[in-house]
């Protein structure tokens, strides 16, 4: 997977840089595939969550890194997906597939209807508008308990089954969810190196110049926002199918903040960065909790240090290192 670097490669560039890269990819795939066989079930479970959060997080990261939009509303779309799967498979008795797509459709529609007016705002106004959205979403999840189960939540959600093969262990889910995550990354990588991707980066650097070149800035922002909502919903649906239980506690402001952390800690400029960001927010609290009650304090400290010392996020840091190795110099377009 060389998706993180793709933005600077012209389309026509030679596919395999050299054999080493193919070898590295092969090793990577081998390691990836063997993790569930070697690691403990608890660890694999954390890696499943890493994948889930990186799917939802990449939507936030892309908005932030390519459009300059801070979104704190991802928890709403994540929730919509989760409740669509919960309600669809329990109350309506649907298969998981239509439930999942229904969630994505609802999330996309909501994002469109809300994004259209609020995406005319910018900077902190927009950040606050999305925060307001997250608050509204959380209240509605609580209030509409005939769908969401309110505080009690919804249990007994159908697990994902593929051709009769039920994904009822973290190991099984691991392969599935990472393949889905890979597809999402692939889509975003496509977008980044396409006409729309150039338009976005232009819009981020100099919006008025982008408009002069014919970019419909508002429309483009709405498209990316809807896209982000759809992948957020996808992640939420997968989450619901995996845990088989959802409650409103999973879709609060803190979850929205943690998705933003995925983007910032991972590095909003790179697509694969969100994997590192997701790994950070999943693994760090888990590892640190061994320290006892002080763990929350240490986590906050680590977070602060990460933001200060890795302003481009972990993804940006690694990308610069890799570029340095490949080009012999670290200086290149961001």
């Amino acid at each position: 997977m060389s998706l993180g670097q793709s933005q600077s490669l012209p389309a026509g560039s030679r596919m395999p840089r050299n054999l080493a890269l193919i070898a590295a990819a092969a090793v990577f795939v081998a390691v990836w595939a063997s993790v569930p066989l070697l690691a403990s079930r608890g660890t694999v479970d954390l890696l499943v969550f890493t994948a889930l959060y990186s799917i939802a997080g990449v939507g936030v990261a892309f908005l932030l890194g390519q459009c300059g939009i801070i979104s704190l509303a991802q928890s709403v779309f994540y929730g919509i997906g989760a409740y669509a799967t919960a309600y669809g498979t329990t109350a309506l008795g649907w298969h998981w597939v239509p439930s999942l797509f229904a969630g994505m459709a609802v999330a996309g529609t909501v994002a469109f209807l809300i994004g259209w007016p609020i995406l005319r705002l910018s900077g902190h106004f927009l950040a606050l508008a999305t925060l307001a959205l997250a608050t509204i979403g959380h209240v509605l999840f609580l209030e509409w308990d005939w769908i969401t189960g309110g505080t009690l939540g919804v249990g007994g959600i159908a697990r994902i089954s593929l051709f009769g093969f039920v994904l009822n262990t973290p190991q099984r889910f691991y392969y599935f969810v990472w393949i889905v995550a890979g597809l999402v990354f692939w889509l975003y990588a496509n977008l980044l190196k396409s006409r729309a991707g150039f338009a976005m980066r232009a819009m981020r650097d100099a919006p008025s110049a982008a408009m002069v070149l014919g970019v419909d800035v508002h429309r483009l922002k709405v498209q990316v926002f809807v896209m982000s909502a759809v992948v957020g919903s996808l992640a939420g649906s997968l989450f619901a199918s995996y845990v088989t239980f959802v409650s409103v506690d999973s879709f609060g402001i803190d979850r929205a903040v943690s998705f933003l952390l995925v983007a910032v800690v991972g590095g909003a400029q790179t697509i694969l960065g969100s994997v590192f960001g997701a790994a950070f927010i999943t693994l760090a609290p888990n590892l640190l909790s061994k320290l006892g009650d002080i763990h929350a304090l240490v986590y906050a400290g680590v977070l602060v240090l990460a933001v200060i010392f890795l302003p481009q996020g972990i993804g940006g840091f690694l990308r610069d290192r890799v570029r340095g190795l490949l080009n012999g110099s670290g200086r290149a377009g961001r």
Binding site: T43, T151, P170, D249, N286
Partner: protein, 383 residues
């Protein structure tokens, strides 16, 4: 009148437990040998549920020490692995995965909040292993989980306890001030059962969990001129708010609002508030006294319901391990399905609500000038 059926054996076990309590100051004579038996616990030690989880943890740690000093389980010591879920269900699920499959614990205790409990239950149910939840019954689906047991009453029972007291006081017109989490759950049950007790709600106002000012809602309740007010929340804020807008009527609350944390936060407004609960540390019932004394000796503070629940949960786990051995998960779960008289209440996990707590287990306390007193009122079980 239905007497709770308590088997002779359980009484014996209970006595053994109390004897174990007495061993606190005795020289440790645990002739322990062999590998410790691990018990998994996921609690809300941080986040909104921390008030519950930390109380439960302190009692569980005390119980662990007591059990080990009294010789452990069939000669083997126990070790309680307590993990913090940060009050988040997804973290609870991950922690439970690690405990169940990495540590291979034979049973689970926790969590402190309904959502976390539900997330763990999806796992324990699949493994057919016992989970002693420190919550009341969650979503309806849990009724189909046959190894998920609750040591706290389900909300309909809490509601009935409140209504019983209300009826005894002859209040008919009630105002309700509740939060959107715990308070909403209790209120939902109140609403369903109020009519049966001849109680009607004149005003029902809600506020979000974590709200810091509820005076407008309280004013609305006051404007309805009720005879008494139900305040149900996991925070002292609404109690202060109610009194600050001059709601002078008696306040009747629920068990979830009773921890000392909240009462301290109420300051001098902690007055004329009634709680249907299970343990009044200042004036315990006879079977609770040993636990209260021991807890006081260990922590220099009084225990309350959640401490008692944590204690009972671990004692139930230990009893089952003694009976069914440390490995067979299904047998352990089965062994728990017998009536048990704990410090907090008498349980019967074979009951349809997976709790078996009766109204008669409730005690009623009243805050008078920041001090708890136990009321003579008791619900005598009716037919």
């Amino acid at each position: 009148m239905i007497r709770t059926k308590i088997s002779r054996r359980t009484v014996l076990m209970g006595t053994a437990g109390v004897t174990a309590l007495g061993a606190l100051h005795a020289p440790a004579i645990a002739q322990q040998g062999g590998e410790p038996i691990k018990i998994g616990a996921v609690l809300c030690l941080t986040g909104p549920g921390a008030g519950l989880g930390q109380a439960e943890r302190s009692a569980m740690q005390l119980a662990e020490k007591m059990v080990n000093e009294a010789g452990g389980v069939n000669g083997r010591p126990i070790r309680v692995l307590i993990e913090d879920d940060g009050s988040k269900p997804d973290i609870a699920k991950s922690k439970a995965e690690a405990l169940i499959f990495n540590e291979k614990v034979p049973l689970m205790i926790g969590s402190s909040l309904t959502a976390s409990t539900g997330a763990i239950a999806a796992l324990t149910n699949g493994e057919k292993m016992a989970q002693v939840a420190l919550t009341g019954l969650g979503p309806a689906i849990e009724l189909t989980y046959k190894s998920l047991y609750h040591v706290l009453p389900p909300q309909p029972l809490n509601a009935r306890a409140m209504l019983e007291y209300t009826k005894a006081q002859n209040f008919k017109k009630i105002g309700v001030l509740h939060d959107s989490g715990y308070g909403q759950l209790v209120y939902n049950s109140l609403r369903e059962q109020a009519a049966a007790y001849g109680v009607s709600f004149a005003a029902v106002e809600k506020f979000e969990v974590g709200a810091q000012d509820v005076s407008t809602q309280a004013a609305k309740v006051r404007a309805a001129q009720p005879e008494a007010v139900y305040v149900i929340a996991t925070s002292p804020v609404p109690f202060r708010g109610a009194r600050q807008v001059r709601i002078t009527q008696p306040i009747i609350s629920a068990i979830g609002s009773s921890p000392y944390d909240y009462v301290r936060g109420m300051g001098e407004y902690a007055d004329d508030i009634v709680f249907p609960e299970f343990l009044v540390g200042e004036d315990p019932e006879p079977h609770q006294k040993a636990f209260v004394d021991m807890y006081k000796a260990a922590y220099n503070s009084l225990p309350k319901n959640y401490e008692a629940a944590g204690w009972d949960a671990l004692q139930i786990a230990v009893n089952a391990l003694k009976k069914a051995g440390p490995t067979d998960r299904e047998a352990i779960a089965q062994a728990m399905r017998e009536p048990y008289r704990g410090v907090m209440a008498s349980y019967n996990f074979a009951a349809p609500d997976l709790t078996g707590i009766e109204l008669s287990s409730f005690v009623f306390s009243k805050l008078v000038k920041t001090q708890f007193t136990r009321l003579p009122f008791k619900v005598t079980a009716r037919s």
